[in-house]
């Protein structure tokens, strides 16, 4: 006799959904979480970053008003007020999450850490042992440790701590031009910080399409120092500052000092803290449990994994779906059903925004591309947002729209529109039968669709 039918480890977005699904199936279940409650998204992810971005874009909008004939004095960033709103609104969102958590009976929310001692038993940090028929691993992820930054000690902040700063830094270095580094780096820059954004592999914002990646890299570099293939020689702490010795793109090897360093070089799964070696779980080459993306089951075992813990792209809406699928299947195990997965949609809330939809650039056999530039797009120009590119993807010989990459205005909205048509398997011809109002940015999508149509007619 086990203590529970289902034990869910991790009370974030995925874990909460898994727990609720298991309960909905009439099973006994509990959540185990020794860390801060309130979800990564609400506490240190989506919400506070969007709040900081809103303040940054407000400052940017004031500076930009002159292009419309609106004269303003230079705006003053009131650090205290900016950060106060970010934290106040964030706490409000966390509060909503906590309200949901408060509905969970106290005995079902175990505020301890867990480690496996065998395939059906975990030991809690307090010493107690709990057993269950099945487990959902929803332990989330943490910012990746970057060894070269160790020299700067406490001046290295991750997104876990950036929203607690007292003031906007005068100078900040950002390591990692992925989603988080790009969003926060640009926001800090637009709030007055002198930013250096460093990458290593040449990638930026998760863009896979080389033409769009190059365009975006150039666009960001016009706004703040950006080197996506940086050479960093050393990082140390001196006189309360972080000193970075690096090869500057124009000046050659230099040393510069920074108030702090934001580290954003990806995230790693927390599954390495679960002592999975005491279980029969098979790890993938990425050192996380191998699992099925449709059932969330690890092999054919009684372990299920959901959310950022699985080391796929960390997205709230995916974590939520995965939690539901994992929780339901953990409850009905050994009966396991594939859950509904949605067309891939990734968005970076930079300005311009980045969106990645459906199949990515490198996944096609014979890629056919429909193109549009936002530089001449009517409404984008009206709003002074005429910067960016959009590429639509199809496979040669098949008129269905399969994917897209956008760097441009309203990419979050275009991204939804495109993802919904991709999920339905619509052809470019069918999509062109839909209404496009005037003057809207969606007309840029129409131009790209017409271009794709022409390309498909030729090949």
């Amino acid at each position: 006799m086990k203590d529970y039918d289902v034990l869910v480890i991790g009370a974030g977005t995925a874990g909460l959904n898994a727990y609720r699904q298991a309960k909905a199936q009439g099973k006994t279940a509990a959540l185990i979480d020794g860390g801060p409650l309130g979800t990564t998204c609400a506490r240190v992810g989506c919400m506070p970053s969007k709040l900081l971005i809103s303040a940054a874009n407000a400052n940017h909008a004031v500076k930009k008003a002159r292009m419309f004939g609106i004269e303003t004095a230079d705006p003053v960033v009131n650090d205290e007020a900016v950060l106060k709103r970010v934290r106040f609104e964030r706490d409000r969102f966390v509060g909503f999450v906590m309200e949901g958590i408060d509905n969970i009976p106290e005995e079902h929310l175990i505020r301890e850490y867990a480690e496996f001692i065998d395939d059906h038993t975990v030991q809690l940090s307090g010493g107690r042992k709990l057993s269950a028929k099945t487990f959902v691993l929803a332990v989330g992820s943490r910012p990746r440790h970057v060894p070269i930054l160790d020299g700067a000690e406490d001046l290295v902040l991750s997104s876990d701590h950036i929203f607690e700063i007292e003031k906007i830094p005068e100078r900040v270095a950002v390591f990692g031009p992925g989603v988080i580094g790009l969003e926060l780096g640009q926001a800090l820059s637009r709030l007055g910080a002198d930013v250096r954004l460093f990458g290593r592999s040449g990638s930026i914002g998760g863009i896979r399409d080389p033409e769009i990646r190059d365009y975006a890299t150039k666009a960001f570099a016009e706004e703040f120092y950006t080197d996506t293939k940086a050479t960093i020689h050393s990082v140390r702490k001196e006189g309360g500052k972080a000193i970075i010795n690096y090869d500057h793109k124009e000046k050659g090897r230099i040393e510069e000092s920074f108030d702090f360093i934001l580290t954003a070089s990806g995230r790693v799964s927390n599954t390495d803290r679960l002592k999975l070696e005491n279980t029969s779980i098979v790890l993938s080459h990425r050192k996380v449990p191998a699992y099925s993306n449709s059932t969330m089951q690890c092999g054919d075992s009684h372990f299920f994994i959901a959310g950022d813990a699985n080391d796929e792209i960390p997205l709230l809406h995916e974590a939520s779906d995965e939690g539901k699928i994992a929780g339901k299947n953990a409850a009905t195990f050994p009966k396991v059903d594939p859950g509904h997965r949605r067309t891939q949609l990734g968005i970076v809330f930079s300005d311009p925004e980045i969106a990645s939809i459906g199949q990515s650039y490198e996944s096609f056999d014979e890629l056919v591309i429909g193109r549009v530039s936002f530089e001449g797009q009517g409404r984008s120009r009206v709003m002074g947002k005429n910067k960016g590119l959009m590429h639509l993807y199809a496979e040669k010989g098949d008129r269905r729209l399969r994917g897209a990459q956008i760097f441009g205005p309203s990419a979050e909205h275009l991204g939804h529109l495109i993802a919904w048509t991709v999920q339905q398997g619509l052809t470019v011809d069918q999509i062109l039968e839909m209404p496009f109002y005037h003057p809207v940015i969606e007309e840029g999508l129409r131009t790209a669709l017409q271009d794709l149509q022409k390309e498909l007619d030729q090949v």
Copy 2:
């Protein structure tokens, strides 16, 4: 032997498309237009209004920056610079339209007005007569004449002339809270004008849903004086000002003076200038030719009508479709085919925006509504745009989404997303299988869909 196969009267959006389609069918065709070229949309409609709105919203954004912690001095509206950009960019858009017109052989673009003398012959204003096998009436519309405003003479401006003003007025009265009056009234208000917006029927921005109409009316009234059921006693000109004697909502009957009056009480078809009484065309009760919305044919005659001339909602994307259908059918007459029509989509670029999609509120037998308020919607709140309502419509016993009314942030984008699903006949359940990113305004749509799902489950 007729002079032409197809004569298209009016060289605007509809007429240009009709002409090109007729030519594409291998027919002889010509355009007749004695008025200013460049399309209503580019010259005095969509484009300059969106440009004025962009400046107005830029000014508004500066004032609003404080809520994010960005401190600014009060912005100064540089009238000259604002209006210069509006006209410069407008002229650029008109230039693109003119480039397209310049490709038309000179002898096919007849710069005169036309009146019918019989079913197959028009007399041009220069005296010449031209005959054709078929005709496309694409003569557009003009602002409706409002008799009570006659007393203010030259101080009454319509959208035809508003973009030529030298400075932003200090005080302006707007007659008609439809799309144009609302967009331009709010824009002038946000550029510093003291605005009075007067309506008569209680309607605003074309909103058919009473709950949303009331909400929107209140929201606009908080920003500038709005009375959608105004009683105007008299309008006269005195000392270079327009004097309006009216019942003020709080102050009772008063007189106020205005720099000018913007008249925006709808538009009327220019077909009354064609001497259609000399033809066999049958007029509808609205005094425009009765016609088929799918073929654009007037009765079973050799006359076709397209664009604003038909007195339906004046929308560029509809005019463009109608022109193509009319031109093609005029060319192939007596063979006439129904053309592809799109799901209705109307957008007002006010702030918040208004969108009307698909079937409207009053067209249902047993209406089921799914609701969301943007006041508590996460991302809307992050951006300080948490104002508005969205209603989704279904018919009892049928889970397909049929229509929607939105007053809220990003309604132009939500409008496309919804219109595209309505056109495909998707059910609320199918739509909920699509990806919704986080945190986005589209999550508000999800909330409304879930509410609609619940309502449909109950009835």
